[in-house]
């Protein structure tokens, strides 16, 4: 792991965290997390990768503060002053949108409640709906959207108010290749423009390679960091370049070493 320069402050620091769910009677004993530590720099795009059921979503929710670890410290940047500064975007997009509101209402509502001025609100809504290709669906309810459209709406809504730390749980799982490329570039654009720290949680190699500048591979019970890789490859990423190949190889090696 590269030691961060002194100037970069951390968005999130997890120290010696212990966590376990109480009512798991599946015969697997022991805590999910034991003395787990992790640090995420402000403004970085970090991927957390691991197999299904490892406890990645749990980690995401510990980061967001919706789950409290039994022991240990979760420190967030002192610049995160409002509850809306940190947001966890659920794996099931229906959990991150209000189904009784149309697409445009879903994006407008948070801005309205966070007291954005009308002009700024309007400009932001137009920009986001275009960026996430939802302009034509503005007056449709979420239940009428396809899986991919719904996932884009979930992202669009949760990023609307420029949160400072965004934890995205499997954000591309329902997107096909072309749309995924569009959305990754949209996310990249937003992250840079709004100075967001992004944490992407995924179990998919190509999702992990799509956006992250750093990839943390975790393995389970108790969860631990198997590899921590830096991906200093520019953006947009072209899958046919040697850099991308090297990155992919490094990731695959990391997974293999981690799982064996």
């Amino acid at each position: 792991m590269s030691t961060p320069a002194l100037s970069t402050s951390s968005a999130l620091q997890i120290e010696d965290v212990d966590f376990s769910y109480q009512a798991r009677s599946d015969g697997i004993d022991g805590p999910l997390y034991k003395e787990f530590s992790l640090r995420i720099e402000e403004g970085s795009i970090v991927t957390i990768m691991g197999a299904s059921g490892v406890g990645k979503s749990t980690l995401g929710r510990i980061m967001a503060g919706t789950l409290t670890p039994r022991r240990g410290i979760v420190r967030r940047s002192p610049y995160f002053t409002k509850p809306s500064d940190v947001v966890y975007v659920d794996q099931h997009p229906m959990n991150s949108v209000f189904p009784w509101q149309t697409v445009i209402e879903n994006v407008r509502y948070p801005l309205k409640k966070l007291n954005w001025e009308i002009a700024a609100r309007h400009e932001r809504i137009c920009y986001l709906l275009t960026l996430f290709r939802l302009s034509d669906l503005a007056d449709v309810h979420p239940a009428q959207l396809s899986g991919g459209e719904l996932q884009r709406l979930g992202l669009c809504r949760c990023l609307s108010w420029k949160p400072k730390l965004v934890i995205l749980d499997e954000p591309f799982s329902a997107l096909d290749g072309r749309v995924k490329a569009e959305i990754t570039s949209a996310l990249h654009e937003l992250a840079l423009k709004d100075h967001m720290t992004l944490v992407l949680i995924t179990h998919n190699v190509s999702d992990a390679l799509a956006l992250g500048m750093r990839c943390i591979i975790v393995a389970k019970r108790p969860i631990r960091v198997m590899a921590d890789l830096d991906f200093p490859v520019g953006f947009p990423r072209d899958e046919s370049t040697a850099d991308y190949d090297a990155m992919q190889q490094a990731l695959i090696n990391g997974i293999r070493d981690g799982l064996v």
């Binding site: 919706t66 409002k82 509850p83 809306s84 947001v87 966890y88 659920d90 099931h92 959990n95 991150s96 949108v97 209000f98 189904p99 009784w100 509101q101 509502y109 948070p110 409640k113 966070l114 309810h141 979420p142 239940a143 009428q144 949760c158």
Partner: protein, 261 residues
């Protein structure tokens, strides 16, 4: 015309059942299997209709319907907000849960004498008695609907620094709405049953469909009695389908409502 055809097609099962029922009724009376004092023929009921209309039947229907609707409006206006607020303030609900369920177990009709003492003989007593169990069932359904709210979505709402009222009326209300409609549906039948029953027994110049049924029966005008009962049944069916319409409109954003259409 096309929409009428569509309506017949959609309701063909129910209409067929109704036709069979009417056929059986006509057959039983035509064959004189039952004394016509107990069961008059369908035709005699139809023949009684003009006289019933002449005897301010429409006013009776209007009165009964008005009381039922008033009771429902009152029950919704009080039950929905207080149910949601109670659910949002868990502590308050934990204190009130026992008494609420105890109250719900007391048959509302048994309380009628109390309502008479408190509110006097009149309109207020009738409406209050119908509103009371409706209020409780809507309130309890609002509480349980809000308790079943999607916790992940409530997390999203909490990020936005909502006030208690915004949280309750802009988020919890919609989360609880399907369950609230179940409550309203039950409340509709409670209200209709109680209003008609009370109209029958309160007497003293109060009119209404229940009173009309009672008066026809006590003067042995059996076809009219049956006619009024059929009308009461139709009011029940109409109220129910009105609730369904409102529900389909207000829950049009729900996935399953759409798939049904």
């Amino acid at each position: 015309m096309v929409s009428a055809m569509g309506w017949f097609k959609r309701n063909s099962g129910g209409l067929l059942f109704l036709a069979c029922l009417l056929g059986a009724w006509a057959a039983v009376t035509a064959l004189r299997l039952v004394d016509s004092l107990v069961l008059p023929s369908p035709w005699s009921v139809v023949r009684a209709a003009p006289a019933m209309l002449h005897e301010r039947l429409l006013a009776d229907i209007g009165l009964t319907l008005g009381r039922v609707l008033l009771a429902l409006v009152f029950a919704c206006a009080l039950g929905i907000p207080s149910g949601l607020l109670l659910s949002y303030r868990r502590r308050a609900y934990e204190v009130l849960e026992g008494p609420l369920h105890a109250l719900r177990s007391v048959p509302a009709s048994a309380l009628f004498p109390l309502f008479l003492i408190v509110a006097g003989v009149g309109e207020i007593s009738i409406v209050a008695l119908a509103a009371y169990p409706s209020l409780l069932v809507i309130l309890v359904n609002a509480v349980s609907g809000a308790a079943l709210a999607n916790q992940r979505r409530l997390y999203q709402a909490r990020l936005l620094n909502l006030t208690t009222l915004q949280m309750v009326f802009e988020v919890l209300f919609y989360e609880a709405l399907p369950s609230i409609f179940d409550g309203i549906r039950t409340a509709v039948s409670y209200s209709l049953v109680l209003v008609i029953a009370v109209e029958m027994f309160i007497g003293l110049g109060e009119r209404g469909l229940g009173r009309a049924i009672y008066l026809y029966q006590s003067t042995y005008r059996i076809p009219e009695t049956y006619g009024a009962i059929v009308i009461a049944g139709m009011i029940g069916i109409l109220l129910n389908s009105a609730v369904t319409r409102v529900q389909n409109h207000m829950l049009r954003w729900m996935p399953n409502v759409h798939q049904e259409q």
